[in-house]
Subunit: 222 residues, 2 copies
DNA sequence: AGCGCGGAGTCCTCAGACAAGTAGAGGGGT
DNA sequence: ACCCCTCTACTTGTCTGAGGACTCCGCGCT
């Protein structure tokens, strides 16, 4: 019986290739036959094969290198990271955040460009003046911390920080709602000092200030 | 500086489209301009636009329906970690590893149980005696470092470390294959000292030893 | 042995053509 | 006024052919 909607050939070809990869026909790191071979073999044109390969490349299963060939880079799809963070306790998430952000603060102090520093200072100012809803305040806080990680110019650290944001945001909003927040005045002071350490290109100071601020946050949450 | 010149046009186009999606130019469920419009707009041919769209479709960001158009299906782009790490340079990965592992080493020194300490020492011994193939040596090294993160009893840090392992393993094997490794003797000494700091419940020493060891590794790779 | 140079194989990009499908405008019937 | 049908413009799907760029490997040279 015919499906209600026929899948495009490129999608079918992608599924077929994925099935053959999962079956072990090509090992991890192995090279696939060339597009010109794969085309007739699957009964589709070359551009269709290319689109199927692109699709799997987007899913992280394949990688094509010009002049060399197409290679298998993964055998199955990894579990979703968001699920891990949701399952984990907020303390464990904060501990990872401390690791990432303290390191990022040190790199930020080393590598900050004038533009990045301006962005940090601007977000610091916005953070100070954010006195609306709890959500607005938390969002402003997150933007400040993110600006620092951006200044660190370390793509993986930034990627990690971003993946933490939703979980952290939720926890901080809850914390403030039940009034467990720290004193606003000294909290702001801590942020100012951190920004100054980055401005002054002092990696160790930035690392320590970032860590001590986040550790006190962790204690407030625990 | 123009290392990105190596990236295929289709990949660049995909990144560009993703950036525009993230910027909110097209809302969730919105229809993108047609391929024939997007092509000249991005300065690439229609086939290239199609491959970029396929790539994003594989990542779950876009969906194309024949005759209707291409639509945005997700904004958050819950990107798979494997894909991120594969795309990122090894230096950026190591920087994140330093952040995670130095912090884990400190927690390990604080929280280690006798069992966890035994596991660390056992893997250290196995690491020392692993003199077979390069793969065996790297695997033994990874097991040692993992034992430390396990001893830290921080689930998220462990989860992060595990997600880094495949990428790190590949890079280290490559490095050793081309003979860029550090001296085996002092390398082993550094690991012994780290294990001793954890045994002696000295978080700051563990943090520093872990960091300095990994920084030298980073320098060797760069 | 080491080095440089091709050449074969491979992926990358473009252009054009036609097929297949969708959505909306417009006309005709009730 | 309402419904339905058709027709048309637009969009994506697929194939083909042609170069261009890149990688890898072996060959010949020193």
């Amino acid at each position: 019986m015919e499906q209600l909607r026929r899948a495009p050939l490129a999608d079918q070809a992608a599924e077929l290739l994925l099935a053959r990869i999962r079956s072990g026909e090509w090992a991890l790191g192995a090279k696939l036959p060339g597009e010109t071979t794969l085309g007739p073999q699957l009964g589709v044109g070359r551009s269709t094969v290319r689109e199927a390969i692109r699709q799997l490349a987007g899913r992280g299963v394949l990688e094509s290198r010009q002049g060399a060939g197409v290679f298998v880079t993964a055998l199955d799809v990894a579990e979703e990271w968001d699920a891990v963070l949701r399952r984990a306790g907020i303390i464990a998430v904060i501990e990872a955040r401390i690791a990432i952000e303290a390191e990022a603060a040190a790199y930020a102090a080393e590598r900050r460009t004038p533009q990045a520093l301006r962005a940090v200072r601007r977000s610091l100012e916005e953070r100070r003046s954010a006195q609306g809803s709890i959500e607005d305040y938390v969002d402003a806080d997150m933007r400040f911390h993110r600006a620092i990680v951006v200044a660190a110019e370390s793509p993986v650290l930034l990627e990690l920080f971003d993946s933490f944001v939703p979980r952290l945001r939720q926890a901080m909003v809850e914390m403030l709602r039940i009034g467990r927040g720290v004193a606003a005045e000294e909290d702001h002071e801590a942020h100012v000092h951190l920004a100054e350490a980055i401005a002054g290109r002092d990696p160790e100071a930035a690392r320590l200030l970032s860590r001590s601020h986040l550790v006190s946050l962790k204690d407030a949450l625990g």
